[in-house]
């Protein structure tokens, strides 16, 4: 994730993206009795042993770290679903629907709730494969775009963040030069030939 470490304020750090992901809802099965928690971010509970409850991921992880619950693996993280997603991901140019924070959520669960994940090894390698295929797609997409607006369906938070700085600057440059070209074109209305960058005279490289 090169280019992300600079302190340009419009960028989100990976920690900040993880912070956002921690608000995603997760299902837990508590093993303790606890009254409702009336947080600033919402009310959760009451919690009863063996009774599933919906809580934000950060709360699930906090309880998990203290051994107070098990985390139910989200449905999209099942081996069947991930296998299906990976296949579809390989077969198509489009991104498959996955949670916006799938990388961060899976990472947090791998790090802190490994015993709650059946087939941990399998799930982990599937998620990694999916991530690799998708990042490859992101990269190939970067070679293609030229328009002044670019859309992506189902791209995730981390993927967006990785290309943000580079793609943003590139598009800005496209936009700027497009406009320059338009003004030039109106200046010389007869010259209707589109200016394609490859048509520019090539500079001779100095022999080494």
């Amino acid at each position: 994730m090169a280019g992300q470490s600079d302190s340009t304020m419009s960028l989100f750090s990976s920690e900040e993206i993880e912070f956002m992901a921690e608000d995603e809802m997760t299902e837990i099965v508590p093993n303790l009795r606890m009254d409702s928690l009336n947080f600033i971010c919402g009310d959760y509970g009451p919690f009863l042993p063996q009774l599933a409850a919906q809580v934000p991921l950060w709360l699930a992880l906090a309880l998990k770290k203290r051994g107070k619950c098990t985390i139910r693996l989200p449905q999209w993280m099942s081996v069947e679903n991930l296998t299906r997603v990976l296949e579809a991901e390989r077969d198509s140019h489009a991104f498959q629907p996955l949670p916006f924070h799938y990388i961060e959520i899976s990472r947090l669960l791998f790090d802190h709730a490994r015993e709650d994940i059946p087939d941990m090894y399998m799930v982990r390698s599937l998620v990694e494969d999916i991530r690799d295929v998708r990042f490859h797609k992101v990269e190939t997409n970067l070679e293609k775009f030229t328009a002044s607006t670019v859309t992506w369906k189902n791209m995730s938070a981390m993927e967006v963040n990785v290309i943000r700085a580079f793609a943003g600057r590139a598009l800005q440059a496209f936009y700027k030069h497009d406009n320059e070209q338009q003004t030039q074109d109106t200046d010389r209305a007869l010259d209707k030939q589109p200016q394609i960058p490859t048509d520019r005279p090539k500079r001779n490289l100095k022999p080494r």
């Binding site: 956002m20 600033i40 971010c41 938070a157 943000r164």
Partner: protein, 220 residues
Amino acid sequence: MATEESASVMDDYEMLISTTDVALLKRAWRNEKAAPEILQFESSLVQRIKEQIELAEQNEEIFEANNIEPLTVSLYQMDLDRTQFLLRSYLRVRLQKIEKYLFYVLKTDEYLNRLSKQEQMFARRCTDDLGSHLDETVLAKLPDNYRSILKQSITSEEDDMVPAPRLDTFVICKAKQYLSGLDFEPEYSMEITEMERDLLTFVCYKFVKKPLENGKIDLV
């Protein structure tokens, strides 16, 4: 199919929890971080959040006095920490932007009005300090024609030494609903005509400024 279904359930859930002030603050924070210019200060939201933080801090003292389970206390503490982080980060991003575009913000009423009272004070103090610093160290030693903080030389017609926010920066946004041409500024009708719901779009900031201000899109 199953993922799509759960995705729509998640959407509904997000709608539901987006009514909390924390979710609103999170949205304001994200937009503020991603936008190239300073946005309207969310004064009533910040006020509400501050009150809730104070309340949570008072509760904490009550917990301690009543010997509430340490686990519960620590969970409340985490919730408080998260909210405080959001608030601090939100305020800090704004201060950074004010510092970056200091002179521009001060000479543009539209921007100045977006700041809170405290932020305006900060901007004025900052300008005074920076101005006198630059005067003492550099400007006073230059020939008369080159002594302005705002202009390159006395012959400049505009303030050409004042960096302005670049509104042609590209941002990534997501529409919360389908947007038609009417949702955008008419002057950009050539560039942008519609936006699908939930589709991530890389777009020039100035094209989507209007729907952003109307709360119809979020920056990501």
